[in-house]
Subunit: 287 residues, 5 copies
């Protein structure tokens, strides 16, 4: 559960509704089905035209993922890499395979069944990290591992970025269709004007599409695109750190030096810079 | 047939028309030939001034291509590259020529005729892949092949990107001419105002150009530019993968390792990341 | 003559005027000298402040160049490079000097006179290509030639790009001064309001500056900047191709291989990709 | 204390309030709690949805930091680096440890206590510089030090940049919610119009949200994002200079040459270019 | 004196005032002190908050520099570099020191006094060029010189670019505060509406802040930012050319070849490309 996402959405909506009601605004007057059809239907149509089916069908899943906390954690991943590095030095590269298996709470033969039975209770290894370690075990050389993992990052990130851009696109189309709806309404209103009073009421209705367009963009789509893009950036940073770690393991680097080399990445988990600096120093002294 | 494109266009238009009609809007009042002449004519004129003839005459073909599904497929291309790689290792580089000929369902001498007769029923090889393989057969060295293919990507993509940008340009000009039409209308209306009622009706007409400008941009041009740009990006990714594959074939790499090295690109066809991860692992075990 | 430029300008203007007249608009009402003084004078003043004299005095020439077709042609340049390459291989590097002289229809001693007499009837060699060939004849080494020509591209393009940006700047200032004029008009109108009718007429006049600003930007400046920038990009691509060609000549590469290596650039002249693919293949077979 | 920040805020607010009051504006009429709830609540909600908790909780601290002058100083840092370089040359690399300890006014064992007692009176060493020097003392090789410090810059700056972007995001959301509030108000007003007079007063209130949105963005968020980004850039430049300095120390470069090599960075402290040029020359002569 | 800057400013202002007066506009009605306080005061406040004191105090000097022609000249600098190169080849590297001293019309001992007495009558050497030559005289090696000069460019340009960005920031804030002033005015006006006539006059006043915001941005700040940025780019190009020249001198290159290598940069002084091409050729023949 990503509490911030849920809280953000609630606070945004409650503030607007509350502020509006405080001054005697009638919330019911803001609902108009036909306006929602124009704005949401139009914007969805344009997003469908703008993207392929493969991407568009990921739209709902991406939206739901907004409210889930991603599990990857910088500090734990570093600890795991150091542990692998220690094992590789002590017991040889092949010992890594056992650690991976142990970590996944399963041995390869019963992978499927284990997954069903207790998949939730045991931490799964990040597939990116795993595929890198597997290459180390297979004895691939440093350049191969690096280039494979970097291709993996590049290809995955391009795909993820283009999926996230659906929210940006939606955030651009919604206000545009809002304005289109308002102009269509104004054309209708002005063509049939009888009295200023009736006209004012009709204009009021025409503005509702503009309101919906703005709400869809600002309450949902722009923040969603931002959060998803930040998570993507964060996961990229973790992957870059993993590459550095795996190269260190492949090179047989001293685990302590490896931990030190990865320590700058801890800034993402440490609560303050001071904490981190002390951390690093503490590590130094132990050495 | 790109169903998403057609559906997107239909859903966008139906939503707007439906939402408008739901509230008693008169769709007929939104049609005005003179407004369309101003917006579409003006925007087309500016696009013609902004581009050369070579690009402008590609405009209709590009628009039609929106509704066609491109045929290139990542997984098939990888399979084909691995097949070439196996043949090259077993039967020597020259055997590649036969595979290419077989794949095209024709031998070179009767290329033209065969093309007419059964060109549709047999899969044509991507010309980019083919020209790369031809260089391998001719015995060109690795650097030459790479540099030739990379030049080919760069030059083609620059050309394609500049063609696609016509839709962006159109999407920028259409609303501008819409606003120009509305201002011209307002100048006329305000100069000859007699009664508020007649003025309102005239203003209503003046807004129609703004509506058309917005519709041309948001219903067609912006989504079209987006979809075409995504396809271009995808075809670039495939070409980069092909370069990697051809270099592997030229180097005489093990076909299994080649397939593994290309596996990150499968993310574009695999339905889920999990599927892909298992895929990779399955491949590993076979090895 | 660049027909597209002239056609584009005419179609844009005729569409707007025609569409406006179709609905009974009075074109004469759109002309107001004082509005043109505010918008064009203000925007020109800002462009003068924004640029130096060296750039500003190129403004009219750049505008006129819009309507002239540039003469460089990708296919001819490749043919010429291959011809040079053949001659260099057969008769030695020094033979290139004769070809250059022959091509320019003059021997060096009478350069000035010949130029006057028949300068138009004979094709002049692109000065960029010529200076590169001259370096080859002088026996400069590969790195020197490359670095000299690349500096030449970089410096010239920076200068050309900054000249072209005058149209972008003009396209940004014109609507801004249009809005300034309208606000000045509205301030005057509102301060002296007597009756709604007279006010409407005065507001009508105030809108004319906004109209002019939009027209200057959208009918002329934005498309002009776009076309000039595309031509610059095209000429850059040709120059990059020339560098590759000259390096091939300097290295004594096989002319056939040189032609093949330059073939991807043909995409800019070939009418279709298929045509190009066949082209390349045809070349291959001859070999 | 960053006087410019405080002055800027005061001058901005006083100018607006003063200019408004000069013409008889009633400042009290600009305050409306419900409008502030809509704009600030809505924008905060969207920022919460757009960012994670780790970033959002840094928001207040970042805002307060605006008014604090950062302590790092280019000239002092260069002097300190040169001092370290001299000591390293004279007394060996291990002597650096003593200087660091002396500088921090504490020996390691009593770090905590010293910090409490006289932490303010003694200059703390920049932790980035310190961790670099520590690696030199530990005998890490040049590439290791460089790569570690560059990773540190990259990771920290990415984090800092994403935190600063909260102000940009807030600056984009505030006016959007301002407009949303105004449209909601207009819908309410127009639906219940009775007399033009009452309508005007109600519209007046509806505009207040637009005002608040603009004020939050322009008086606070945009300038804040700019200042924080500039400081980040400045601290990056210092860090790059520190890397160059530490590499020089590690290489055992002549301290005078080191100072000269770092002199271009002095442009950030020198009051004029002339001053700096003379500085450099003065240094040269001494040598 | 930069005549274009002064002319541009005058033409812009005269066009607006003239066009406005042509139609009977009353220029006096456009002046309102309170509006200027809101817009200029607000925008200045935000710029102060956005920048540090070091940058802000450069604001007036930068503005004045707009109207001064910078003295550096590409052709003269190239001539000077070639002269240095000739002297270095003939009389050795140490002879450069004498040329520098001669050029500055002073010997080092009396630098200060000479400067006062005849500083204006003698050309001062560009400090960037001078510090490079000094390194050559000191016998620094090529990489050191290059890296020092490149750091110098990078650091200076970052600083200069951030100073210039103050004009961009001012150009963004001025219209924003203009709009804020207008909204504050409208809120006041609409809240106290009595008759349409009095309201119109009051609205007229409210628009003045919008006008001022637009004028400050478009007449002054945007063109100023553009011109200063162009000059910065030009001075960067000269500096890059100087680096190439100094490396040539350090390497002891043939002065004629050096001049040829630097010739592409002449495009910035030559009046036409043809002129330049002939220039280069003329140089070639002499050789």
């Amino acid at each position: 559960m990503d509490l911030m996402s849920i809280l953000g959405l609630i606070i945004g909506i409650v503030s607007m509704a509350g502020g509006y009601a405080m001054d005697g605004g009638n919330l019911g007057a803001l609902w108009l089905l036909s306006a929602m059809v124009i704005v949401a239907g139009g914007a969805l149509g344009s997003v469908m035209l703008a993207y392929g089916l493969d991407q568009f069908k990921r739209f709902p899943a991406l939206f739901i993922s907004l409210f889930k906390q991603p599990k990857t954690n910088m500090a734990n991943t570093i600890d795991f890499l150091v542990k692998l590095s220690e094992s590789a030095r002590k017991d040889g590269i092949l010992s890594l395979e056992k650690i991976i298996e142990a970590e996944e709470g399963t041995d390869k033969g019963t992978d499927k069944g284990a997954d069903k039975g207790k998949g939730k209770s045991k931490g799964k290894i990040d597939p990116f990290l795993k595929s890198g370690i597997m290459m180390v075990i297979d004895g691939a050389d440093l350049e191969q591992i690096k280039s494979f993992l970097e291709t993996d990052i590049a290809v995955n990130d391009q795909k993820a970025a283009s999926e996230i851009s659906m929210f940006d696109t939606m955030a651009a189309f919604a206000p545009a269709y809002g304005m289109i709806g308002t102009i269509m309404g104004l054309i209708q209103v002005l063509a049939n004007m009888t009295s200023p009073e009736s006209m004012a009421a009709a204009i009021s209705v025409a503005f509702i599409t503009t309101l919906y367009g703005s709400l869809i963009a600002n309450v949902i789509c722009i923040p969603a695109a931002n959060k998803l893009r930040m998570r993507l950036e964060y996961s990229q940073t973790i992957k870059e750190m993993i590459i550095e770690g795996i190269c260190g393991i492949r090179n047989g680097d001293n685990p302590k030096i490896l931990r030190e080399r990865l320590s700058p990445y801890l800034v993402y988990t440490a609560s303050s810079k001071k904490g981190k600096a002390e951390n690093v120093e503490a590590k130094r002294k132990k050495k």
